[in-house]
């Protein structure tokens, strides 16, 4: 019950913050931003408590159903955003991130609650590490994606010399590229650790490191994609538009891996198999 209330509260607060941040980006009203920021923070705290509650109830990161996985993803995205906020102090980023998180939470709340039967093999530290690092990595890449979209909008305005209403609202190209860069170089190790711990867990629980499960394959493709992007950025000196575009494509691949592969393709990674999907 407590869990449900916290979840609803978090959703309402984050929706409120999204509305406030939208008002902020339209009107450039700093007061709207300040309130929205605190409301968002409160929503994040509620979500954190809910997830902690769920964790203590089932003994594993709450990602066994699509419903809880989406809300967990929203939580990591917000967490990563708040961390980046400490470094970049970029108010307008919130106006892009909050709607994304709100979206995930709305989808999550629309999915009916299902009974979760936690198989004993899920109660493993490896699994928790695997899940949380993968999700943090994904959240970082979500930020890369958002910064990429912002970069493309801003770059287009400057390039075409049509400085519209977003010109003054969006940050500089250098800032956006830097967010893109930082979230990529931080997200990549997380994803890597997530994949390694996943393999270790698979060895411990299922007896083999790699089983060519579609989700595994797609994760590997995603990982290779980001590895290539990272390499181009660091070694070749890619930046700007090209890097932003690649970050957006990368996130599309990642989203497919996260949702598509889990729902339709996967074998043991699917929510059905995780015990959180009802066929009714």
């Amino acid at each position: 019950m407590m869990e449900l209330i916290l979840g609803r509260l978090a959703l309402v607060l984050i929706l409120l913050a999204t509305a406030g941040l939208t008002v902020f980006i339209v009107s450039q009203n700093k007061v709207a931003y300040r309130w929205s920021y605190w409301v968002l923070l409160a929503g994040f705290v509620c979500l954190t408590l809910q997830i902690f509650y769920q964790y203590s109830a089932i003994g594993v990161a709450p990602v066994l159903t699509l419903k809880s996985a989406l809300s967990f993803f929203a939580w990591t995205i917000l967490g990563v955003y708040l961390l980046f906020h400490l470094k970049f102090k970029l108010m307008v980023l919130g106006s892009f991130i909050a709607p994304l998180a709100a979206c995930l939470l709305i989808i999550s709340s629309a999915i009916p609650e299902t009974e979760v039967t936690v198989k004993p093999i899920f109660r493993s530290l490896w699994l928790t590490v695997h899940v949380s690092t993968s999700f943090v990595g994904n959240a970082m890449f979500a930020l890369t994606f958002v910064a990429g979209v912002m970069y493309l909008i801003q770059e287009r305005q400057i390039k075409k010399k049509k400085l519209g209403s977003m010109y003054s609202r969006l940050p500089s190209l250098a800032t956006l590229d830097s967010i893109n860069h930082h979230s990529l170089i931080w997200g990549f190790p997380f994803l890597t650790v997530g994949m390694i711990t996943g393999a270790i867990y698979a060895q411990v629980a299922l007896g083999s490191y790699w089983r060519w499960d579609p989700k595994e394959v797609w994760s590997l493709i995603t990982w290779l994609f980001y590895a290539a992007l990272l390499h181009e950025r660091l070694a070749v000196g890619w930046r700007g538009r090209k890097a932003a575009l690649m970050a957006i494509i990368g996130f599309a691949v990642l989203t497919f891996t996260f949702v598509g592969a889990s729902l339709w393709l996967s074998d043991y990674h699917s929510f059905r198999n995780l015990g959180g999907w009802s066929d009714s």
């Binding site: 390039k159 940050p171 500089s172 250098a174 800032t175 000196g237 930046r239 700007g240 538009r241 090209k242």
Partner: protein, 443 residues
């Protein structure tokens, strides 16, 4: 009947590509003035060619003929048929022309309203016309009044000191590209007031160093010392592109100084870090295709106006005040122009003499004691005939000259000689030095 006509194109009527064609050769101004001198239908002329405008101002008695001759001149200068550019031409006549000249001098017609350069450019065009002896009575007066109007607009409105300017817009853009200008390096190619202003603005926003390249190395050294930067030869621009972040170009070169290939090559070495080009020159110095390269942003003078347009709205009020001042000055000038006909001049000459005669009689009557009516009559006749005899020759002279081409000059001279415009406080020897005393003329 004389007419004042102004034909030309500016940033509003013609695109930069077209203006470039007409501003290609620095010698054009001399050519134009020589042409005007040779045309019988043009009595006085002035040719103004800047980044943003090419215009010919002239005084004529045969409007149609003079106008088509000027279009022909422009077509020769641009090396293209009149049909290609004539839709972009404006033509102002009479009062409209006067107003236009005043507005241009006051920087109300500028791309960036209030930019200070235009007055200097107009003064230079005028002194060239004086040198080439194409400026006469009317043009002299017109230009001096224009300088006066410009001065009033500058001091009585806030147009000029507002921060908005092309260089300001450039700094804003640089910040949107680089965020922090600290540690960024600027390359200044060529010289010019506007370019130096932009460079100075960037420096005050944290740009760390400036390098200067110029065709004449001496000038580069000179400029570099102003900005405490490093001078380079023109040929080194290619290699400089690999290490700078912002490039300001403002050379008089007819072709592109920075090519697309050059920039493309530099990007490999600079690991794609963005390059921002501010091209103030007309004709343009940076190949527009550079803007198509990834991470390169090229803003020429027209683009920068587009950027400043929003801010210009805030200055509309001040500009309105400026327009009012211009209007006042136009009316004053017209009044003067109308007096430049023979009849009004003779009338005011006679009026002046008559008022002197009456004053002097009144003054002398006291010391003459009581006079009989016959004596009074004699005094009247005496003074009247003196005045008449003195004025006879000048009046005959003016009437005889009124059909001559230099009539305006004689009339103007006569008005000055007899100080006929005194009551308006409008007499003028030199527009520059007399401006301050305007309006306080004794009566």
């Amino acid at each position: 009947m004389i007419h004042i006509v102004d034909i030309g194109m500016n940033h509003e009527t013609a695109p930069v590509e077209l203006r470039e064609c007409l501003a290609r050769n620095p010698k054009d101004a001399e050519t134009a003035l020589a042409w005007m001198r040779d045309q019988a239908c043009i009595k006085e002329g002035l040719f103004l060619s800047t980044c943003n405008r090419v215009e010919a101002l002239f005084i004529t008695e045969r409007e149609g003929e003079a106008e088509s001759s000027m279009v022909e001149l422009l077509s020769r200068l641009g090396g293209m048929p009149a049909a290609t550019f004539s839709p972009h031409l404006f033509t102002y006549r009479g009062r409209e022309a006067v107003r236009h000249v005043f507005r241009v001098a006051s920087s109300l017609d500028s791309m960036v309203v209030g930019e200070p350069q235009i007055l200097g450019q107009i003064k230079e065009a005028y002194s060239r016309a004086t040198r080439e002896k194409t400026a006469g009575t009317i043009l002299n007066r017109l230009m001096h009044r224009a300088f006066h109007a410009a001065k009033r607009v500058r001091t009585e409105t806030g147009i000029c000191d507002a921060a908005v300017s092309i260089s300001y817009a450039a700094v804003e853009l640089a910040k949107k590209i680089f965020y922090d200008l600290g540690g960024k390096k600027v390359l200044l190619v060529g010289a010019g007031e506007m370019a130096e202003l932009a460079a100075r603005n960037l420096l005050s926003h944290g740009v760390s160093s400036i390098v200067v390249a110029n065709r004449t190395f001496d000038r580069a050294v000179e400029l570099a010392s102003v900005f405490q930067g490093e001078p380079f030869a023109f040929e080194e621009i290619g290699s400089l592109l690999t290490e700078v972040d912002i490039v300001i170009t403002s050379t008089a070169s007819p072709g592109y100084v920075i090519t697309s290939e050059q920039v493309k090559k530099s990007f490999r070495k600079r690991r794609n870090s963005p390059l921002f080009f501010i091209d103030i020159a007309v004709p343009r110095d940076v190949d527009p295709r550079v803007n198509d390269l990834e991470n390169a942003y090229v803003y020429d003078i027209d683009d920068l106006t587009g950027v400043t347009r929003a801010n210009m709205a805030q200055r509309a009020e001040e500009a309105l005040k400026g327009e009012r001042i211009v209007e006042e000055e136009v009316i004053k000038f017209e009044k003067w122009l109308n007096t430049l006909a023979v009849v009004p001049t003779i009338v005011s000459l006679k009026d002046k003499a008559e008022s002197i005669r009456l004053t002097e009689i009144r003054r002398s009557l006291g010391s003459l004691g009581t006079l009989s009516s016959r004596q009074m009559e004699g005094l009247e006749t005496l003074t009247l005939s003196i005045v008449e005899k003195i004025l006879n020759d000048p009046i005959v002279f003016l009437k005889r000259k009124s059909e001559r081409p230099q009539a305006a000059a004689y009339l103007d001279f006569a008005r000055r000689l007899f100080n006929l415009d005194r009551e308006n406080g409008e007499e003028e020897e030199n527009g520059h030095s007399r401006d301050d005393k305007e309006g306080q003329g004794s009566s």
